[in-house]
């Protein structure tokens, strides 16, 4: 991989691996490197072993790699998923006092760094993480004042803790410099670009900021990983942005309160995961029949039921496709990185309001917990508009409109009365059991699907799909696949990444018709997106690359999987 590093930090929950990740990623980005970070953690508050991977590169990267160049285990008891990623080329910076005999006999290069002792001398064993941050910053050529500045930014509210971490980081930094100067460890660093100063955005922030840019001013949720990261962000920043945030009693309340807010002219989002979304289904159906907009963010994790609370999966596509009883149009957006998460979350609010349909932002734990670099996230007032109307005295909420979109009045804006009804209703919103009216109302609602199809986002195509093997991805798998293809360097494979999975853009028909083999890579055990493609185009995928272990595909895994398929074997 040339001058590019995959650094993995491991530690028990509570040991501050997250803090090191935050500090390091920012320090490295400010030093002009390209960075990407992704983490995996166990569902526990203390103990266990969690890890975070930080990629440091001279080019833009945004995918999980299997390879570990530098491993920093802050505690013993590495889990098998880390062990199997070590190779003879891996350098381990570890503390013998903590790790004991754990690495003895392993062909990797082990350098003993007394993190604990250094931390104890600097201010307490709890700051071993800051020692590690110091060591790593020194190894990657970060200037000490830059690291110090970051510590000040992070701990400014707690002077005593700041000082402890400062002296720990400083001690670690000296140790790192010592390793470099004594030639015990010399890294051939990627070229830094002094003008490169990206914003660092994880998936939670990307969804939240996109929603805010889309006018979101009301957030409801019942805490459920990984959807609650958005709840936490919105809550912590509610005063800053002047919005309403409420942790409600259950997901049923979340969806209903959000609908109430939209009916009164607010722009509300409920954020949850698959289990909570399942509870919201009746409310989604209410959104549909009442034509009250709603945006729901669904951060997927492995199911069924409680599944794996802190892990990732893409197995709720069909849940979102069919959520709610009865038939009605909907939109499902599936961002692959922070930029898409931002853009699509913003768009979700515009479309929900414009077409009066439920819009789902389908992310997953991997995307939400990964840190992406972005040049910027565009925010401007020019692209924002409300789509409700001022009601007049003859206002009819469900006026039979040709395109299916009846102008939406809201309470308190105009002289008309807004009648919103969960029953089948007449144009005024009163209960109506006339069979003709039923048919007309159902057709009116369904006709919005045509508008949604016309507005649908095309897939992003990499390479020339004509007569090539075509790999399809959606959501967070896209960037991993993109890098896997770059790694393979073959011209006979193209990639189509779908950031909107429903309704599909019309170009998908030609796209799959012209392809030699269709390969679908996705994070579930049955090929849900492949099934949707077949349903929509008639074309059955020739091969599936599926992953449902609870962790994202790696670049290497997808590259070798594709190679195997193209060698001719492994037909499904």
């Amino acid at each position: 991989m040339g001058n590019e590093f995959s650094v993995v930090l491991c530690g028990a929950a509570g040991q501050g691996v997250q803090t090191v990740e935050n500090l390091l990623v920012k320090a490295l980005a400010r030093s002009g490197f390209h960075v990407f970070a992704t983490k995996e953690s166990m569902s526990r508050v203390r103990g266990g072993s969690n890890s975070t991977e930080i990629r440091i590169s001279g080019r833009h990267v945004e995918a999980f790699v299997e390879r570990i160049d530098l491993l920093v285990p802050l505690n013993g008891g590495l889990r098998p998923n880390i062990w199997k990623r070590l190779s003879p080329e891996t350098i381990v910076l570890g503390d013998r006092e903590e790790l004991k005999e754990e690495f003895v006999g392993h062909p990797c290069t082990f350098l003993d760094v007394p993190f604990l002792e250094m931390a104890r001398q600097a201010g307490g064993a709890l700051t071993a993480n800051s020692v590690a941050a110091g060591v790593l910053c020194a190894l990657f050529g970060v200037e000490y004042p830059d690291l110090d500045q970051l510590l000040v930014e992070r701990f400014s509210a707690k002077p005593e803790i700041l000082e402890k971490n400062r002296s720990s980081a400083e001690s670690g930094f000296r140790q790192g410099m010592d390793l470099v100067e004594k030639n015990r460890l010399s890294l051939s660093l990627p070229e830094a670009d002094p003008h490169w100063r990206p914003a660092l955005v994880d998936g939670h922030k990307a969804v939240s900021l996109g929603a805010l840019a889309g006018g979101c001013n009301f957030v409801t949720a019942y805490p459920m990983s990984p959807g609650s990261g958005v709840l936490a962000f919105m809550s912590q920043n509610a005063a800053r942005f002047g919005i309403a945030v409420e942790q409600v009693e259950d997901e049923i309340a979340a969806v209903n309160m959000a609908l109430g807010a939209w009916a009164a002219g607010g722009r509300a989002m409920a954020t949850t995961s698959g289990g909570g979304f399942a509870l919201m289904e009746e409310g989604i159906s209410l959104s549909a029949v009442t034509e009250t907009p709603i945006v729901v963010h669904v951060g997927q994790r492995p199911g069924p039921a409680t599944g794996m609370a802190t892990r990732t999966e893409q197995a709720d596509l069909e849940l979102a496709l069919y959520a709610g009883h009865g038939e009605f149009p909907r939109v499902i957006l599936s961002p692959g990185n922070a930029r898409e998460a931002f853009d699509l979350s913003r768009l979700a609010f515009d479309w929900a309001d414009r077409y009066q349909v439920p819009v789902f932002i389908l992310t997953d734990e991997y995307l939400l917990d990964s840190v992406f670099e972005v040049e910027g996230l565009p925010v401007d007032e020019g692209s924002f508009s409300h789509h409700f109307v001022e009601s007049g005295p003859d206002y009819l909420r469900y006026r039979l409109a040709e395109d299916g979109v009846s102008p939406r009045g809201i309470f308190g804006n105009g002289t008309g009365l807004i009648r919103i009804d969960s029953h089948e209703h007449d144009e005024s919103g009163h209960i109506e059991e006339d069979f003709d009216m039923r048919e007309r109302m159902q057709m009116k609602r369904m006709s919005k699907l045509k508008l949604l199809e016309e507005a649908a986002l095309p897939p992003t195509v990499h390479g020339n799909p004509k007569d090539a093997n075509l790999v399809l991805s959606w959501g967070s798998t896209g960037p991993v696949l993109q890098e896997a293809l770059a790694l393979l360097g073959r011209t006979d494979i193209a990639l189509a990444h779908f950031s909107q999975v429903y309704p599909l853009h019309s170009s998908v028909l030609d796209l799959v018709a012209g392809a030699r083999k269709i390969i679908v890579a996705e994070g579930n055990s049955t090929g849900q997106f492949a099934r949707l493609i077949r349903l929509s185009t008639g074309r059955k995928a020739d091969h599936l690359l599926l992953n449902f272990r609870g962790h994202q595909f790696s670049v290497e895994e997808l590259a070798s999987g594709l190679e195997r398929i193209l060698l001719g074997g492994d037909a499904q």
Partner: protein, 288 residues
């Protein structure tokens, strides 16, 4: 204002003749017009059930949503536009059964709305099954050997959970109902009004006669409005059951919508707002 301004023309009433809902409907119209509120200022929110049809039979903005879910919808409406007068209307099955969890948490959350519960102690819409407030022993097509579960005591529940306003009335006691519903709407905060109401079709136990014989009206001086312990005692009283306002917070308690950061600097409803693009951009810049 004339209560007739709340009348809907050519309405197809689906309630049985003699249903207590008629009295509650006309009382509600009188109260709202008496308060000088136009239908444009009022949002009537209900779930599903016979009582939940009330909003269809009068003027006003309405949301008839899902069974049991009126309270979270109503809270969302009030929080997005605090200037509206919001009522959550439903029956005992709707509010105390399917919506029980929302009731508990609406009480804690204290949005400024009036929650009217038409309590006829039976399911009307689904034809006669037991409700959460049905008396033990009442036989129904489903509870064929008689209701086994203890009836829910909504007033004691609300008082114990810190409800801001708790009252009970009887649909036929129209003067009392008018007074109580008016007070509930004026009250700033969550106000529960449990309304005893006969179901002439399905409840042969709790009839007009039964309610008359098993209730008494609290007299002035009989209640210390702001004493939650004494209110609890009244809520545990019966039969005969007390009618009147059992408890009311002293003025000044903060409502759900008042404490939202959305209204700290701006007071206008959410529909008048645009995204704070400057603040969002500045935040993103801070992530570099």
């Amino acid at each position: 204002m004339n209560p007739r301004e709340y009348d809907v023309e050519n309405v197809d009433m689906s309630w049985c003749p003699g249903c207590g809902n008629f009295q509650i409907l006309s009382t509600l119209k009188e109260v709202l017009s008496g308060l000088g509120l136009s239908p444009q200022e009022v949002v009537l929110i209900s779930g599903i059930g016979q009582a939940a049809k009330t909003p269809h039979f009068m003027k006003g903005h309405i949301i008839q949503g899902l069974h049991g879910r009126a309270l979270p919808v109503a809270t969302g409406v009030k929080a997005a536009n605090p200037g509206m007068t919001v009522l959550a209307i439903g029956g005992d099955g709707d509010m105390y059964g399917e919506g029980g969890n929302h009731l508990l948490h609406a009480i804690r959350r204290n949005p400024d709305l009036a929650n009217l519960v038409h309590n006829n102690m039976v399911y009307g819409l689904t034809k006669g099954q037991a409700s959460p407030t049905s008396p033990v022993g009442m036989k129904t097509p489903v509870q064929v050997e008689g209701v086994f579960s203890e009836p829910l005591n909504p007033l004691a529940l609300a008082i114990s959970q810190g409800a801001s306003f708790v009252a009970r009335t009887f649909s036929a006691a129209t003067d009392l109902s008018r007074e109580i519903i008016k007070a509930a709407i004026i009250h700033k905060g969550y106000a529960l009004v449990d309304i005893f109401q006969p179901c002439v079709s399905f409840n042969k136990v709790n009839t007009y006669k039964w309610f008359k014989e098993n209730t008494f009206v609290l007299q002035d001086g009989q209640v210390d409005l702001h004493d939650r312990r004494k209110a609890m005692e009244l809520a545990m009283t019966g039969p005969p059951y007390p009618l009147g306002i059992l408890y009311q917070d002293r003025p000044g308690r903060v409502t759900f919508e008042e404490q939202l950061p959305a209204y700290r600097e701006k007071k206008d409803p959410l529909w008048k707002r645009k995204p704070p693009v400057g603040l969002i951009s500045a935040f993103i810049e801070g992530l570099r």
